[in-house]
């Protein structure tokens, strides 16, 4: 077996070793390299703490043997190979699971709460720590399809959270939850879509949010929680849609973006005035909100079910109606816009979410009952399979660095804790 000259380096300062060249057999895998690094570290520091590392060659994780990896990457086996290593991410641990009466279509986490939208037309607020159901509100007459957090007031005493839910009843509803009074109230009903509203996304400043619908349009709405000029009062008793019996106000869309030819299934904001939308017509379009025009579009081969943008890696990740998770570069207009295919799922990928503090990791949920955590540098195999669901996964969320939440057709919400210690040191 051929030997390789490798040079080890790391960006995690606490694990750095001396700059030497080592000759290792080609058959060595991560375990052998791990032993090597651990031995070097223990020599330097005289400590017996052992930690696991992952190894990168050419920005891709070594998952098989070194020789296989080098061959597939087409590197020369003669020259010295630079091997980067970093501390292995610890496996996420299942923390909580709680049951809902019906399928969960959407889930969002905040520091204190978990908000779910479900097929029994209700939005529910849960306490994240105690996993108690705090309050549930019915503001729709059809199943809720998605939820987006608008504003979160983290003030200790006066905790208030506002969010928007969209439903198959063609409306989006803006809610506020006040933790001190434990009251969930629907403030505004956003009317304008002519078919079921599939997705919603709120921008960074929390001033506006966008919704995408089966009528193939995207509408942008103001997300302020105070009544504006364009709202009208509607007496609920006439329609009996709102069981709360309180007054609810109607809001109309600021901007309507049309261009997609089929259902707009996913939305995400790129920056303050650019929104990215994915549709069943196989395209991803980027829109300018100020001028309400389409700036560019990327064409794929499959319908898009979910979409997320990371400000750290500046990449868009999509879940499609096949088994791949695709990474797109929204800045490159033409050519090969699909940067990478992450393949391990065996069903449609219904939901994707980037890690909030890491430019490489993301989670995806699929119809194959599996939630997978990915590192973009390891496209063939996921980092971890989070197998807890017994039916289709409909939604995953990784809004907070240390918690991944998922909900699905088995009516259960699962939360996983992610250890972010090592990652924080790097980024």
């Amino acid at each position: 077996m051929a030997h390789f000259q490798i040079k080890l380096f790391t960006q995690q300062k606490q694990f750095s070793v001396t700059d030497n060249t080592f000759s290792v057999p080609g058959s060595s895998t991560c375990t052998e390299l791990n032993d090597l690094v651990n031995k070097l570290l223990s020599e330097d520091k005289d400590e017996s703490t052992r930690s696991d590392f992952d190894f990168l060659v050419n920005d891709e994780f070594i998952r098989t043997s070194l020789v296989d990896h080098v061959e597939t990457k087409g590197l020369s086996s003669e020259s010295v190979i630079d091997v980067e290593y970093l501390q292995r991410k610890q496996a996420p641990e299942l923390k909580h699971s709680f049951q809902q009466p019906d399928w969960i279509s959407s889930i969002k986490t905040t520091e204190k709460f978990i908000i779910t939208g479900s097929y029994d037309c209700a939005v529910t607020v849960w306490d994240r720590v105690t996993t108690k159901q705090l309050v549930s509100g019915i503001g729709h007459s059809e199943p809720v399809k998605s939820i987006a957090i608008i504003n979160y007031n983290s003030d200790e005493k006066k905790q208030k959270i506002s969010f928007v839910s969209t439903s198959q009843d063609q409306h989006a509803v803006i809610w506020t939850y006040n933790s001190s009074t434990n009251q969930l109230s629907s403030l505004f009903c956003c009317k304008g879509h002519s078919k079921s509203v599939e997705c919603a996304a709120s921008n960074e400043k929390k001033s506006i949010f966008a919704t995408g619908s089966w009528d193939s349009t995207i509408k942008v709405w103001s997300s302020s929680v105070t009544p504006e000029e364009d709202t009208q009062e509607v007496i609920n008793s006439s329609k009996k849609k709102f069981k709360s019996g309180k007054k609810s106000l109607t809001r109309t869309a600021k901007v309507t973006l049309s261009g997609h030819t089929e259902v707009v299934s996913a939305l995400t904001w790129l920056n303050e005035n650019e929104i990215c939308s994915g549709s069943w017509d196989h395209t991803i379009r980027i829109w300018d909100i100020d001028t309400a025009v389409e700036k560019s579009h990327m064409r794929g081969m499959k319908s898009i079910l979910s979409l997320d943008y990371s400000h750290l890696s500046r990449l868009v990740v999509t879940g499609n109606t096949d088994r791949h998770v695709r990474l797109w570069d929204p800045r490159s207009g033409e050519g090969a816009v699909v940067k990478c295919n992450l393949t391990s799922h065996i069903g449609w990928v219904t939901s994707v979410h980037w890690a909030p503090n890491d430019s490489h990791t993301l989670v995806s949920g699929s119809l194959d009952n599996c939630v997978k955590m990915w590192d973009t540098r390891s496209p063939k195999a996921p980092l971890y399979d989070l197998q807890a669901h017994t039916d289709k996964v409909m939604s995953v969320d990784w809004s907070l660095p240390d918690i991944v939440a998922s909900g699905g057709a088995d009516c259960k919400v699962f939360t996983f804790t992610v250890n972010t210690g090592a990652v924080d040191n790097v980024y």
């Binding site: 399928w103 002519s194 078919k195 079921s196 081969m301 119809l367």
Partner: protein
């Protein structure tokens, strides 16, 4: 490690077993198909009987062998014992090699019948040539019996003849014996069903397998050739060799080819040479001293004499002679010579013409399936919930909702994307939902359901609210036209029983369920089909003598029976998407009527015995193409008709092993599919060109499997998603599946 699947294998998996069909020429296929069909039917019936016979036979055998199982087993095992002994010997050899101190007591007599040593006190010799004494054994029958009763290991104890000792079989050896007895492979680790790795693809690749550079030798001039050329040059120089023939003056004369010139020449005779038929070679029975088994008994000789000469196996009686010189004169010599001369004289003078056809030329040049994407390939979702077989499905025009009807009278509406059942309606307690169909008009939200004798027009209140409300107001705004009423009234006196009555549901529980209109027919309705514009719909009422088809108009709530007479039992009807044509499929024919002129415009001969379903290519909607029709039949065939070409099928495809239940076209992609009772759906690429001179391109691209066959019923209905290259299928296993 997963082995790479070679391309060819992949292709076969894509095409399934239909690849052969694909590559045969059309006319052959048609001829064969009929024969095959008959054969297959016979085969099926034969097989069924055989199977049952065999099973019974096996059972009987098992019963009879049970009491004597032990002895039987022992006999069989004795054959295997030899093998085990060999193995044991090898083991001991290995051991001996390691430890030379141990005494070597191997028997070296070799593979000889051991009964030769029966009378000796020893059983053979060891390596040094010393006698190995027989071990002391109790050969008493009583002892054997007691041993059999007492020793729990008796059944696996065998007697080793070469060592004379008893050997208890180990677990490993027992499993080996078991495998050999069952006819399995000797080696347990050997897997005969390993995935086959085809190293070389059957397709012509762009790059050769061996890309070694040409040898240096091929560039340097050859020495041998140089010498030869030198000799020739020398011969030319010396005048020994004349180069170039002197030109003759024949050019002026016009050359005619004499057709008959060599008809009597030697060459012609040789060309026409037909080898003489060869006489049969003599066998063992013709020998002067044949082996004893060839000699006939007295009975056989008598039989031979009684038989007619034509019935005899040989035309002589084999005889045994001690020596060649005792063989008497052959009496039939002259006769046989004469017969041989007759054979030569009367042998057929026929030349067989051989064609040298390149087999590749016979295969039509079809594109590869992977170049024809997108098409559905894998199962994406399974819609579970129905309690009985799902006979019919329909996708609404937006592609968001899927309606399905099952045999227990339940209609369900599903969200396509998530397989969530959003509505469940119990339409009827007993009767099955035969057919369900969304109105293709996007400005109304209506679902037509057939159950028993009724067609129910339902507003499921799903999708766009405004559309649903508009639909209701549209239906409510209907005011019966009095004049028409009168007219129809006067007509109805003649044929009151024929025209089905409409009932409008305006209040009550039924209204809340979504019922809007109910049309009751004289007999059970089997199918309902909408016109593309969504105003007219046609109902098929089989078994209703002359009124088997009814045309209903939604806006005017009118019904009519377009045909005063129906030839044959109507199976299915269909509207042309934009021209006033109406297709009526009876058991063997598809008749095309022009609704404006009210006359029969064409009659298509399907060559099928019983048509099950028809579908029309939607190309006419979008661009100027001719009309193309697919017809599925219960005798496993799918026929493609190009209506401009002929009234016979342009192509007949036999990709299903059992009856075809449904066929459909995709509205946007050039795809069509057929689903059958064998539980599979065959998706094909069917490209129709706007150039009328170019024939449609038909390539089968994928066989989708997943549904279970239940009570000989497989997939009952299939339909494509209106916008995506996905296909839905419903089956007798109570599920609906989405393939994407």
């Amino acid at each position: 490690m997963k082995k790479k699947r070679p391309l060819s294998e992949l292709q076969t998996s894509i095409l399934g077993e239909n690849e052969e069909n694909l590559f045969t020429n059309k006319p052959i296929e048609e001829e064969e198909s009929e024969n095959e069909e008959e054969n297959e039917e016979n085969d099926d019936s034969m097989l069924g009987e055989e199977d049952s016979d065999v099973e019974e036979g096996e059972e009987v055998n098992e019963k009879s062998t049970e009491p004597t199982q032990h002895t039987e087993e022992k006999k069989e095992t004795s054959e295997v014992v030899a093998k085990i002994n060999e193995k044991l010997e090898k083991q001991t050899e290995d051991n001996d090699n390691d430890t030379s101190d141990e005494e070597d007591s191997r028997n070296t007599v070799g593979n000889i019948p051991m009964q030769w040593y029966e009378d000796f006190p020893h059983i053979g010799y060891d390596l040094d040539g010393k006698k190995i004494a027989k071990p002391i054994r109790n050969n008493d029958e009583l002892d054997k019996f007691l041993d059999k009763m007492d020793n729990p290991e008796y059944w696996k104890t065998i007697h080793d003849k070469t060592t004379g000792r008893d050997h208890v079989l180990t677990e490993e050896e027992l499993s080996l014996v078991n495998r050999v007895q069952r006819g399995y492979f000797y080696d347990a680790k050997y897997d005969p069903h390993e995935p086959y790795v085809d190293f070389f693809t059957n397709e012509k690749m762009l790059h050769p397998i061996n890309n070694a550079p040409a040898h240096k030798r091929s560039f340097t001039p050859s020495l041998v050739e140089k010498r030869k050329v030198g000799k020739l040059v020398h011969a030319i120089k010396m005048g020994w060799l004349k180069v170039g023939k002197p030109k003759q003056d024949d050019e002026e004369q016009i050359k005619f080819y004499d057709l008959w010139a060599d008809s009597h020449s030697e060459l012609a005779r040789q060309k026409m040479h037909i080898p003489a038929p060869k006489p049969a070679l003599p066998g063992h029975e013709a020998s002067y001293n044949p082996p004893p088994e060839y000699l006939p008994t007295q009975e056989e000789i008598d039989q031979w004499k009684e038989d007619d000469p034509e019935d005899r196996k040989f035309d002589f009686i084999p005889e045994k002679h001690d020596a060649l010189r005792r063989v008497p004169q052959y009496p039939k010599f002259i006769q046989e010579r004469f017969a041989r001369c007759l054979d030569l004289y009367l042998c057929p003078r026929q030349r067989k013409m051989k064609f040298n056809v390149n087999p590749d030329d016979l295969i039509p040049d079809l594109p590869k399936p992977r170049d024809l994407r997108p098409f559905p390939t894998v199962q994406a979702l399974c819609y579970r919930g129905h309690q009985a077989m799902v006979r019919t499905i329909s996708v609404d025009t937006t592609g968001q909702w899927l309606a399905s009807g099952s045999d227990d009278g339940v209609v369900r509406i599903w969200e396509v994307q998530t397989a969530r059942c959003v509505r469940e309606l119990k339409i009827d307690e007993k009767e099955a939902i035969k057919c369900i169909s969304w109105c293709p008009n996007t400005s109304v939200c209506l679902l037509a359901i057939t159950v028993d004798t009724k067609i129910i027009i339902l507003n499921p209140y799903i999708g766009d609210r405004l559309v649903a409300q508009a639909t209701d107001s549209l239906l409510q705004s209907y005011e019966p036209n009095e004049e028409e009423e009168e007219q129809s009234g006067s007509k109805s006196e003649k044929s009151n029983s024929l025209i089905p009555p409409w009932r409008s549901v305006e209040t009550g529980l039924e209204y809340q369920d979504g019922y809007r209109l109910v049309i009751t027919h004289p007999k059970a309705v089997s199918k309902v089909t909408w016109h593309a514009k969504g105003d007219y719909f046609a109902a098929t009422v089989p078994n209703n003598s002359n009124a088997q088809v009814f045309l209903h108009q939604l806006t005017k709530r009118r019904s009519q029976n377009p045909f005063s007479k129906c030839k044959g039992a109507v199976q299915s009807v269909l509207f042309h998407p934009n021209r006033p044509f109406f297709f009526v499929a009876t058991q063997q024919y598809v008749r095309v009527y022009n609704l404006v002129k009210q006359q029969l415009s064409k009659k298509l001969l399907s060559n099928a015995k019983w048509i099950s379903s028809i579908a029309i290519h939607p190309g006419a909607l979008y661009k100027h193409t001719g009309d193309n029709l697919i017809v599925g039949s219960y005798d496993c065939r799918l026929s493609w008709f190009d209506m401009d070409l002929s009234s016979k099928p342009y192509r007949t495809m036999r990709y299903h092993k059992r009856a075809i239940r449904a066929c459909c076209f995709h509205r946007k992609y050039p795809l069509f599919a057929s689903a059958g009772d064998d539980g599979s759906i065959v998706v094909s690429h069917g490209m129709v060109y706007s150039d009328l001179m170019q024939n449609p391109l038909i390539v089968p691209v994928k066989v989708l499997k997943g549904h279970k066959v239940d009570r000989n019923l497989g997939v009952l209905d299939c339909c494509f998603h209106p916008h995506q290259p996905w296909i839905f299928s419903s089956a007798a296993d109570n599920t609906i599946r989405l393939f994407s």
